[in-house]
């Protein structure tokens, strides 16, 4: 690798990166500008809501607990962990998996120049994320605690000091991540099993910890701000290094901590950041070029599978092809199969926690509605993948047009596969929930009628959402794959399918929960008497059937003509 660095090349590469991401100066049609503008407004609204939430949480916690410093430690922990996770994803995606490394290496630029230009982009991204998270947290803390003006100047210094840490950690962790990824290429089933185990493991860990905290609070019958819970906060924040050092430096000095503690905190932070930064620099500059070359060299690494010629039916071969194209892709396996098979575990833990909390506050009658909502939410996440079923064909889309098989049959094969995976997930979720909540241990919160109706309604909604997701992709597919011929980012149809699914889940779940406590009357007629869940299920069953019928019609009526109009 050439040691001389041309900063002109670095600047050109960086400009190329920025233009590729944020668009060139080519005039964008009004429609696209409006959509982009709405997207920005939506993001700002979500951000404003989050900031408002943090403000109220901070005000509540600090006012009720009178432990401002402990709150600051928890806030620093949250912000630094989150920025580090975002930075790892950013570095892995942009430095190693962006798919343009081979293209860039054809230009008269060195690996070091590519690394510097991409690192500058990643660092800018890291700075923006850090500012978006640190600034509101620091300002809110200052406002809530009526901090002196000096606090805000210290906050600026602490934010600047904190920015390099997540980036350095991300650079160090990205390398083993990439080495492992290069190592397990083509081990599809192994990766799928590992992904399912990892998703379940992390989720179980998280929910167990959350459940433990809630149990503790309930057992102490003390709520969030009892003396024993306060003691727990003190113990946790007292040992939360290195996050405690950031809090000591930022706000320790005006809540009674000594200047020596602040000075030592600065020293420790500086030493850790410097050590990790220097380590990341040496490790990255020495391994980056090798890793991307390995990535390029092994990109075409493939497996050999000696099989005889096998004859299948037309429908069978369509299903077989669709399934193996998903299984043999890390992205798709993770987005779809791993999520589908991990869903029952997630459903169980979410439902367990929500039911425990709901039962304690509102009563056991809330459990069937909650169960229905949780199952449909996870089904929505799984079936939203079907919204890329046409887009994923990309360059090979012409196949679907030239083969002597009707478009209806081809779409039916996709629907059957996605429907089958969705159904398997719903069946497993229902079985798990039934086993947990209809037994004596589960205090019989669900009877057989509840379980049967929840399954039927969830299944109809899952199939309906699958139909709608595929219909959305038939209407406007996005043929835009990258790297290994895969769609890495979600397309607009996927987001749409997810939003519709979540909305339906919320409506059905809330409807069931509310009318388990209240009667539904129209005029003099009582449609749902109190406690009559049969009527609720009958109404939701009919609604689900109507939605399913509408979705099937939306997908299949005029499908041949709509599909023929798709031009790759």
């Amino acid at each position: 690798m050439n040691d001389k660095i041309s900063w002109l090349s670095v600047r050109s590469l960086l400009r190329l990166e920025m233009r590729a991401r944020f668009g060139s100066k080519v005039e964008v049609p009004v429609g696209k500008r409006v959509v982009k503008g709405l997207g920005i407004v939506f993001s700002l609204v979500i951000y404003a809501l989050l900031v408002t939430g943090i403000y109220f949480l901070a005000a509540l916690f600090i006012e009720r607990s009178d432990m401002p410093f402990e709150f600051l430690v928890l806030a620093m922990t949250f912000v630094i962990v989150l920025t580090t996770l975002v930075a790892i994803g950013n570095v892995v995606k942009n430095l190693y998996m962006s798919g343009d490394n081979e293209l860039l290496l054809r230009f008269p630029v060195s690996g070091k120049e590519i690394l510097i230009s991409k690192s500058i982009y990643c660092f800018i991204h890291n700075v923006v994320i850090n500012l978006l998270l640190f600034v509101p947290v620091c300002v809110i803390y200052g406002v809530v605690t009526s901090a002196p003006v000096g606090y805000y100047f210290v906050a600026i210094a602490v934010i600047l000091l904190a920015i390099p840490l997540p980036y350095a950690i991300a650079n160090l962790l990205a390398i083993p991540v990439m080495m492992v990824m290069n190592l397990v290429k083509n081990q599809f089933l192994l990766v799928l099993i590992f992904l399912i185990a990892a998703i379940c493991g992390v989720f179980i860990l998280y929910m167990t910890a959350l459940g433990g905290v809630l149990d503790y609070m309930r057992d102490e019958s003390a709520g969030m701000f009892s003396e024993s819970v306060m003691e727990m906060y003190r113990n946790i924040t007292g040992a939360a290094y290195p996050f405690r050092w950031y809090a000591l430096l930022l706000g320790g000095w005006f809540v009674g901590h000594s200047a020596l503690e602040a000075g030592l905190s600065f020293l420790f932070i500086f030493l850790i950041t410097a050590a990790l930064g220097v380590g990341a620099y040496f490790v990255t500059t020495r391994t980056y070029y090798k890793i991307i070359l390995t990535g390029i060299e092994t990109e075409k690494a493939s497996f050999k599978k000696n099989i005889p010629n096998i004859t299948r039916s037309v429908f069978g071969t369509l299903l077989h092809r669709e399934f193996f194209l998903i299984l043999r892709s890390f992205n798709y396996s993770f987005q779809y199969l791993a999520m589908a098979f991990a869903a029952p575990v997630m459903v169980y833990y979410c439902n367990d926690l929500a039911a425990t909390m709901g039962r304690n506050t509102l009563g056991a009658a809330i459990v069937p509605g909650l169960t229905l909502m949780v199952i449909v939410i996870f089904s929505s996440i799984i079936v939203s993948f079907a919204a890329t079923s046409i887009s994923r064909e990309d360059n090979a889309f012409y196949h679907t047009k030239i083969i002597p098989v009707s478009y209806t049959t081809q779409v039916l094969a996709k629907l059957l596969l996605y429907g089958a995976v969705g159904t398997a997930s719903v069946v497993l979720s229902t079985v798990v929930v039934a086993a947990a909540f209809s037994s004596g241990d589960g205090l019989e919160m669900l009877n057989s009628l509840d379980i049967g109706c929840i399954f039927i309604i969830s299944e109809m909604l899952t199939l309906a959402l699958t139909c709608l997701a595929i219909a959305a992709d038939v209407k406007s597919p996005t043929f835009n794959v990258s790297g290994d011929g895969e769609m890495v980012s979600a397309n607009k149809n996927m987001v749409l399918a997810l939003v519709v699914g979540m909305a339906i889940a919320a409506l059905f779940g809330v409807f069931t929960m509310v009318f388990s406590f209240l009667p539904l009357t129209i005029g003099d007629a009582t449609i749902i008497p109190i406690g009559e869940r049969n009527n609720i299920y009958a109404i939701l069953g009919v609604l689900s059937a109507l939605i399913l019928a509408g979705s099937v019609a939306a997908l299949f009526v005029g499908l041949e003509k709509r599909y023929q109009r798709i031009a790759p």
């Binding site: 083509n186 075409k300 690494a301 493939s302 497996f303 050999k304 599978k305 000696n306 099989i307 010629n309 096998i310 004859t311 299948r312 039916s313 037309v314 069978g316 071969t317 369509l318 077989h320 092809r321 193996f324 194209l325 043999r328 892709s329 360059n395 090979a396 012409y398 196949h399 047009k401 030239i402 083969i403 002597p404 098989v405 009707s406 290994d484 011929g485 023929q564 109009r565 031009a567 790759p568």
Partner: protein, 273 residues
Amino acid sequence: MLKVTDLKKVYPKSDRVAVDGISFELRPGEIFGFLGQNGAGKSTTIKCLTGILPFDGGSIEVCGYDIQRDPIKAKMNMGYVPDNHSVYEKLTGREYVNYIADIYRVSKADRDARLDKYVELFKLGFAIDKQIKSYSHGMKQKICIIAALIHEPKLWVLDEPMMGLDPQSTAEIIAYMREHCAKGNTVFFSSHNLDLVKRLCHRVAIVNEGHLIDCFDLVGNEENKANLEERFFKITGTYEKRLFEDYVAQEQAEMRPDLPVDDGANGAEGGEI
């Protein structure tokens, strides 16, 4: 075998008519060359007749079946090799060919025999059980050709088929095109290689700016054969005497070293058009 009548295609959100009133008919047992500059409408015509693109006017019949009214039967009689040879790269070569064979309902005995024959013909035995993503450009082209032929189509459509192929494979494909036609089937292919077209095709059509300008026999008509380049350059508006003379001289020197270079360039008439 293939009948295109008054074909018209306008791309959505475009004012330009990509294909305007093109008509031609292919006979059984002939190799038909489809010529034109880049953007002349060749690929659009091919995409319409294979069913990839909808069209705005006219009709296309494959073996008597209308591609719009009876698409399944029409497609059943056709094999298509695209110019970008995109395939399902996560499948192995054998899985891909089996998938296509299943789609065209090819029996196990037939696919075994044909796959063995084509793998041997195109020297792909070492890679047929590997994932297609590991294939080179030429190997992908070969697997596309094998997949297009696995059901022995009556009409074999190829879009720029020789691009990226090694000389051995090019020679094998040419030989196979002739063999395919000898069985009474038809080959329709687009190309920029005028010499190949001249040596291989029974008839050619030249399109320019979406219009079919000329369609003539090559077999049995030595004058048409000799004048193919000149007619092509004049029709496509790229005729320039000096350039044309250079082209013919180069072709004679490189492709026909046995013939003396003709300074008259087959009687090419001067002047730019």
